[in-house]
Symmetry: C2
Subunit: 116 residues, 2 copies
């Protein structure tokens, strides 16, 4: 399990990344096996720039990772695959995560540094 206890802000980023039907589908596709951008775009039926944007969002959240590889015929291919994330969401888990949110604190939790 990659991130058992992400920061509150990191959790928000992960949730925001998954809170979209298209991105849910992308993760679902990659869960069945790695794929490269152009092919994935054709499979899902969306434009490549659009897919590129969604992949960025998912990768930034740490849910997928991309690696640039060279195919046999010399083409640069960007392959994406899912990370083995594991998020367990309950009311108390949310309460715990909220302690590490940036901004006006109302709960005496451990203070964190600013986002990079």
């Amino acid at each position: 399990m990659t991130a058992a206890r992400p920061t509150g802000d990191d959790l928000v980023e992960m949730l925001a990344a998954l809170a979209n039907p298209l991105r849910l589908r992308i993760v679902a596709r990659l869960a069945h096996g790695r794929d490269y951008v152009s092919h994935l775009a054709r499979e899902i039926g969306i434009s490549r720039p659009l897919l590129h944007m969604h992949l960025q969002r998912l990768e930034a959240a740490g849910l997928i990772t991309g690696t640039l590889e060279l195919s046999e015929d010399g083409k640069a291919m960007k392959y994406y695959e899912v990370t083995d994330f594991d998020l367990h969401l309950t009311a108390s888990a949310v309460a715990e995560a909220a302690r590490t949110l940036d901004g006006p604190e109302s709960d005496p939790g451990p203070t964190r540094k600013e986002r990079h």
Copy 2:
């Protein structure tokens, strides 16, 4: 556990509801005990209309429930509390949920009815 296997679209709604620092804080607060709108707004430090909006979003997603009650001095008070939701998010769980998404299907999953 309230919704072990929500529809893909319901899952998106739940995730979208949680994917916001303010709403995460609201759920965290309510996880420690029920509260009414005006008081909660003062506690968190936001305006009442704004809180109202966020509560609507959380309730629509099924994460909290509100009940209108009469206080001892006859005032109408809207109390909110968390439901005992339990979401387990992994790549394969997402793959499973994506099968019940509305729209252009690319996976031969069980078809669902339109959103009410």
